[in-house]
Symmetry: C2
């Protein structure tokens, strides 16, 4: 049994690579861009989430009071680039979710080089993010973001 392969299989079904946007006065251009890798499970089946945290050596477990689930989540760009992404490079996803991961990986690496801090690159990251097929609904459309970007 190979735990790395096992966790990639689990994540292929249950994991989520997300690039979220939210309006923010604190951030350049009026929008925060926030990548995250997460896996949610019902509380009584959370063993595997601890395994993710231990094996990847990063991330947090959080209770959701709302729906009785536990969420494993990594938001730190450096953890994503140095731990999560190398894991899925080594143990690749075998479903179409791999394409989501590849875009996610590109965005995280560009952010770790500070590319979200110049307007032209930020726009490219927005374009890239909207090529991902999220299962969840996006709160904002690409047009809403582009139409409200402001120079600092």
């Amino acid at each position: 049994m190979d735990i790395g392969s096992y966790l990639s299989g689990f994540a292929d079904g249950e994991g989520s690579f997300c690039i979220c946007f939210s309006p923010s006065q604190r951030h350049a251009f009026g929008w925060e861009i926030r990548p995250s890798f997460s896996v949610s499970q019902k509380r009584e089946r959370a063993e595997v989430l601890q395994l993710f945290r231990d094996f990847l050596g990063c991330g947090t477990l959080r209770n959701s009071q709302r729906d009785g689930t536990i969420k494993y989540e990594v938001r730190s760009i450096s953890d994503l680039v140095e731990k999560v992404i190398p894991h899925f490079d080594r143990y690749p996803l075998l479903s179409g979710k791999r394409q989501e991961f590849e875009i996610f990986s590109t965005i995280c690496k560009r952010m770790s080089r500070g590319e979200h801090l110049t307007l032209s690159s930020f726009k490219e990251l927005v374009e890239l993010a909207f090529r991902m097929n999220f299962t969840g609904n996006r709160r904002y459309t690409k047009e809403e973001i582009f139409n409200t970007l402001r120079e600092r």
Copy 2:
């Protein structure tokens, strides 16, 4: 990357070990007991289901018109006992779903020895099956089955 471990990880999240009961005039005691291992995915993400079929060397893929999913399913007792169960013995589930699998394994092995064909053993299999925590809803309660069992 180890495909066996990967598939067990995927199945730990997305797979289902089920012991279903349905009223049947063709079966001993008026009830059919039907074990199955299945994994369902949206149509655009069905690559991994083909991998299950190829790697385990059994089972079928079926389109569900109703909800746009594809279901990989193994129902044959001999395939379950000779292929599916040995796979999960070798690459064990790491969540609480393992307990479901252990009961499932016991029931399948006892059925492969014909134990569902005597009334006392059939009742034991019903008791065992109702110790599993199905995520789906059961159509019949244990009491309904016990109250309507008939000798052949």
